[in-house]
């Protein structure tokens, strides 16, 4: 007898029908990983454009959801393991590894992902987690910067983000971050490209609706980096932003650009309070 969620008994009559799968909204499933229950739904906070707030996990089907519920079955973890080796590996001219300065990733990186992206005083700009990693590489290790949204950098941010898994998203948007937040908000509501679509058109106004065969989520980023079936690798939030904007028949911004860092801050704020799921699994 087969045992998985994917073999739940169901009606056999469905097979002939081709189109229109209708599901208005998220499902009711509970995300539990290693005995820990994750917050995938919460009421909107004051000023929140969304109420309730949902994790994208709630919009995926059972088969996709199941892969995130088991760290072994979650393919992202092979890349996390690779990054764990990189963490200990000396690279660059200074003879250092990440661990040389930061020690055990489990200790030093705990909670870091929760406040990303964050304003960096010294740099005078908003930095994503990737910026911090590459700063260490180029300025402390004497190593080359890793490519934005590339496999190696996404694996490293996944390893670091994992140390905050289960903690609430808690970006800081005031002080010097405020202007970045405003810029991100402006981008979120701008109707880009020849299709003239903003993030909000799909992810705010049509959450839960089907766009062709895709079930629209709120576009939250609490699961990034995420392993996607689409390209069978880890994807950064910026990589995902780029894909969405490209699909509006627009000239995209580049991963790592100030525009996408601003957008990342704004979208992180829209999902504040959601549990960090990184590295998540999506379609």
């Amino acid at each position: 007898m087969l045992k998985k969620a994917i073999v739940l008994a169901g009606a056999a009559a469905l097979t002939g029908l081709a189109s229109t799968a209708v599901l208005a909204g998220p499902d009711d499933d509970e995300l539990v990983i290693d005995g820990e229950t994750f917050v995938t739904e919460l009421p909107g906070f004051e000023g929140s454009p969304l109420d309730p707030i949902y994790s994208g996990w709630r919009f995926r089907d059972d088969a996709t959801q199941a892969l995130e519920m088991d760290d072994f079955e979650n393919p992202a973890f092979v890349f996390v393991e690779q990054a764990a080796e990189s963490w200990e590996t000396v690279e660059g001219t200074e003879g250092k590894s990440c661990a040389s300065c930061h020690g055990a990733v489990e200790e030093s990186m705990k909670g870091v992902r929760a406040s990303m992206p964050s304003y960096n005083e010294a740099a005078g700009e908003l930095w994503s987690l990737e910026n911090y990693v590459n700063f260490c590489r180029t300025e402390r290790m004497g190593a080359d910067a890793l490519k934005w949204d590339g496999d190696e950098l996404n694996a490293m941010t996944a390893l670091i983000a994992l140390q905050s898994r289960g903690m609430p998203m808690a970006p800081v948007i005031d002080g010097p971050a405020a202007e970045w937040f405003e810029r991100g908000k402006e981008i979120y509501y701008t109707r880009y490209g020849q299709l003239e679509l903003s993030c909000a058109n799909c992810h705010e106004d049509h959450t839960g609706d089907m766009i062709r065969a895709d079930h629209l989520s709120q576009g939250q980023i609490n699961g990034f980096p995420t392993y996607r079936f689409k390209n069978t690798k880890l994807n950064s939030a910026h990589g995902r932003f780029k894909g969405c904007i490209r699909d509006t028949r627009a000239e995209t911004f580049a991963p790592g650009s100030p525009e996408f860092r601003a957008l990342e801050l704004y979208v992180a704020w829209r999902g504040q309070g959601l549990s960090i799921e990184s590295p998540s699994v999506r379609n």
Binding site: L2, I6, L14, L23, D61, A63, A213, N231, R246
Partner: protein
């Protein structure tokens, strides 16, 4: 009739054995003849194939054809071959069991190029063959491009 995607969860091909027509000659793959029948023949050596007795677990709708979880099982199976009748090539994977196997079932994740029937053919320990098929709808992306 209104149904939700959630309801698609999935179903066991064992429970829909009616969909699994078999019996070797005349098992036509007219619409999707990618060599599926030839692959079955190669596996069975042309022996007759019984209907049912093989379970296939798969999502009713796969959110992305690049990674479709699938599980097959058959009592007393020595080997189970999985075929994708609508892929460019039918072969997917063949599992071989032994006396040390706990259950005669296994799972993996497969690529399906489009909506199609997944087929599982089992060679049982007594040398006979059994087979089931199960439709899987494969989604396409939401936007253009």
């Amino acid at each position: 009739m209104e149904w939700t995607r959630r309801d698609f969860g999935a179903l066991c091909a064992g429970a829909v054995a009616t969909a699994a027509l078999v019996g070797r000659p005349g098992f036509a793959f007219a619409a999707d003849d990618n060599g599926t029948q030839a692959a079955i023949d190669a596996f069975t050596g042309g022996a007759p194939v019984a209907e049912g007795g093989v379970d296939i677990g798969a999502p009713e709708i796969a959110e992305n054809g690049n990674t479709v979880p699938i599980e097959v099982g058959a009592e007393n199976a020595a080997a189970i071959m999985i075929l994708a009748s609508g892929n460019p090539n039918p072969g997917v994977v063949t599992f071989e069991f032994t006396p040390l196997s706990g259950a005669r079932s296994a799972s993996t994740r497969i690529r399906l190029a489009k909506t199609q029937d997944v087929i599982a053919v089992a060679r049982l320990e007594d040398g006979s063959f059994a087979m089931a098929r199960r439709p899987v709808k494969v989604t396409i992306g939401g936007c253009g491009g």
